[in-house]
């Protein structure tokens, strides 16, 4: 590179210097390695957008360190300013490098092969001999061979100049342009994408609107009113488990889908087979049990009748949850529950499940009275009971159909049965097709740039003082091209027949 430093240059010169440095190969390489190094912490520390619960646990455990990690965006590495800075600089460097290269290559595509050099001996695999054939005849043969092997050639007065392998540079440019496509795809996803999750109980219908989601993130440019208009009724969720190990073998979710103006259609969603509505996909993410209960308060009114979503705690789907009855009289009622699909009792562990399917379902309840704390307007987890202002009035284990009359005349609860729930993820990513096109281009470009070899060939044939034909060939390539010698030999053999050469 040049020895000039920015101090020697004025404002414009300094800018030009900066630009040249940024778009130099060395800088691009450093940025590339920096990007690799910068992505490491995100794989070792929990990341907020992937696993917010793990981040919170980590923060609680390491309070002092967490403060600094937070400041350095280390819980959100891939969205952090410094990570963005690296890849934005890298892409500027890449664009600054590839666009001029592309323009040069476009010009080169229509250019003729370069003039035959005066001295062929200095090039690769030079070869020379005297021949009995006329020079024109030799050059005709050369032309024939070059045509057959798809070389681009130019006949000069006493020589032929040829070149092949332009596809290499085309592939190179295509590959780097495809990387820009990835950036575009990411941008489209960030601007126009949306991703939401929702838990739906068997028998319920999900309507695709912003309020139906448990959580929803959307791109800055995406209008939530434009969510794909559809409803989805969860008919049945059918899991299959290995009887010996309890490992899941298969999950099948049967739904009835309906677009705003269409007729209802029965569909099947599986783990690797989402339901697709245009650029919106619906994925089956998780599943669990909802015990169905009927709760009566002290006055005998039914204050709750239906399924309550419980969250699975282990692979055998021991599930926990809370039932909250703020409207019960004379006092607010709450239950902390554990649902065991296949119940087993143990002196040490208490009640737990030994199989994920509901073979021997039991509902373990502890009942609480007092203030549920829902009136303060503070958001509360629906899966946990805040018992700070409550008193426990009893414990009970129920089988399906059994009822429990609560002490102190505060009401009763009946375990009617259970249904399953599924966690659906609804994703809209209009950029993914761009990314797919980018990937195809990237691979094609790579194949061309790594396997096509660009090389030049020359042949010269002229008469010497004695009237004999002197023919010489030579080649040139800047790549590591193992087969070049063989190709040159083949070329030579095409120009010279037996007995002609001396």
């Amino acid at each position: 590179m040049s020895e000039i430093t920015p101090a020697d240059l004025g404002g414009v010169g300094g800018l030009r210097w900066f630009w040249r440095q940024l778009t130099s190969m060395k800088t691009a390489l450093i940025l590339l390695m920096l990007l690799a190094v910068a992505s490491i912490p995100g794989s070792l520390l929990p990341q907020r957008n992937q696993n917010p619960i793990a981040v919170n646990e980590y923060v609680l455990k390491n309070e002092g360190a967490a403060k600094w990690l937070e400041r350095l965006s280390l819980f959100n590495v891939y969205g952090s300013p410094w990570f963005s800075a690296i890849y934005i600089l890298l892409f500027i460097s890449l664009i600054g490098c590839v666009i001029p290269r592309m323009l040069i290559h476009i010009r080169a595509l229509s250019a003729r092969p370069p003039k035959t050099p005066q001295n062929l001996d200095r090039l690769t695999f030079p070869r020379s001999a005297q021949s009995t054939v006329r020079p024109d005849e030799v050059l005709d043969r050369a032309q024939e061979w070059l045509k057959k092997h798809h070389f681009r050639w130019e006949r000069e007065s006493d020589s032929v100049s040829a070149e092949k392998g332009y596809l290499r540079e085309s592939g190179n440019v295509l590959f780097h342009l495809s990387l820009i496509l990835f950036l575009v795809a990411m941008g489209v996803a960030a601007g126009y994408g949306s991703k939401g999750e929702t838990i739906v109980v068997e028998g319920d219908t999900f309507t695709n609107s912003a309020t139906s989601y448990d959580n929803l993130t959307n791109g800055s440019k995406f209008d939530l009113r434009k969510l794909a208009p559809f409803t989805l009724k969860v008919d049945r969720f059918v899991p299959t488990y290995d009887l010996a190990t309890g490992a899941p073998i298969d999950y099948k979710l049967y739904v009835t889908a309906r677009e705003s103006d269409g007729a209802p259609k029965r569909e099947l969603i599986e783990v690797n087979h989402p339901l697709r509505f245009g650029s919106t996909n619906i994925y089956l993410q998780a599943n669990g049990y909802s015990p169905v209960v009927t709760v009566k308060d002290g006055a005998g009114n039914i204050v709750m009748n239906g399924p309550v979503v419980f969250l699975p705690q282990d692979t055998n789907l021991t599930s926990t949850g809370a039932i909250k009855l703020p409207d019960a009289t004379p006092t607010q009622l709450g239950f902390v529950g554990t649902f065991l699909p296949t119940a087993t009792m143990d002196k040490v562990r208490g009640g737990f499940s030994t199989f994920p399917d509901a073979v021997e379902p039991r509902l373990l309840l502890s009942a609480w009275t007092g203030d549920l704390g829902l009136d303060k307007g503070m958001p509360q987890s629906i899966y946990r009971l805040d018992t700070t202002k409550m008193t426990r009035i009893g414990l009970k284990q129920l089988a399906v159909g059994e009822s429990w009359t609560l002490p102190e005349g505060v009401g009763s609860i009946t375990f009617q049965g259970w249904v399953r729930w599924v966690n659906l993820q609804v994703v809209r990513d209009p950029g993914k097709e761009v990314a797919l096109v980018g990937s195809v281009f990237a691979i094609l470009g790579l194949l061309a740039t790594l396997f096509v070899k660009r090389r030049r060939l020359w042949v010269r044939a002229r008469r010497d003082e004695d009237g004999a034909t002197v023919l010489s060939i030579a080649g040139l390539t800047r790549q590591e091209y193992e087969g070049f010698e063989a190709e040159m030999n083949d070329f030579w053999n095409a120009l010279t027949a037996k007995g002609e050469v001396r």
């Binding site: 992505s39 290995d242 490992a247 690797n272 990513d429 193992e482």
Partner: protein, 304 residues
Amino acid sequence: MTSTNWAYSSNYLLYAAMIVYTLAMLSAALEVAINVKGAKVLVTPSGESGPRVDDTKSERWGRIAIALTSLAFLLHFAGVIARGISAHRVPWGNMYEFSTTGSVAVTGMFLLLLRRHSLRWLTLVVTFAVLVTLGSAITLLYVPSAPLVPALKSTWLVIHVSAAVISGGVFLLANAVAGAYLYLDRVESRGPRPAWALKIPSLDALDRLCYRLVAFVFPLWTFSVIAGAIWAESAWGRYWGWDPKETWAFITWVAYAAYLHARATTGWKGRRAAWLCLLAGSSFLFNYVYVNVWGSGKHTYSGL
């Protein structure tokens, strides 16, 4: 045969393969030993001195080592297939199977590339590495043959993992070549090569060999990452999510891309390129070992 019979056959085939690998390793070691014993130090007229070997005696053992490695490969491959038959699926659903399949890919790619490249000097290293992998798989990672978890039920499992496994096999070979380069570079800086290293190609040839291996397999690795992204899109709702496994696959990709650029454009040959290649290969190994066994994220299928 029943599933259980196939599973047992798989185990026996793998044990048999380990025995033959051991014999292959011993033959390869014998080749080196004979070379070292028969080496003569010649003083050339120019005054340079260095050992010379007469390989007429050792050559036979080198060939036997390759023949035994090929036999071991067949047994190993049959063992992997039997495992697949016993589980009614592709034999890469957990860490034990990744290791047995991954090591068969290393041997397979070694034997395949041996036809075009001078790689025979690597027999000792390859058989040793495969033996260690198989041994640790059988003793530490073994899990009984079982069906797949629902998330792995996809055609992409076949495409994505087989591409990754083959790429990994070649990456490890390239790593061995780069490692040999760096070691011999140090040895040669102190004096002539010792007798045991005489059959290894020149530094320049090692450098080129390493580049060719990486250039050959880099598009396949790219494809493997993309196939994984397509699968992730249909399984998890996003094609890229910076899951630890994805992140390390990306790091490996970027490191090899840097290697190829450095070597092709800025003319970084030799030592620095070899270090870069080792670094890239290590990120692949780290991804395989650390992320599979201790890591978190969505790619946790090790069964441990």
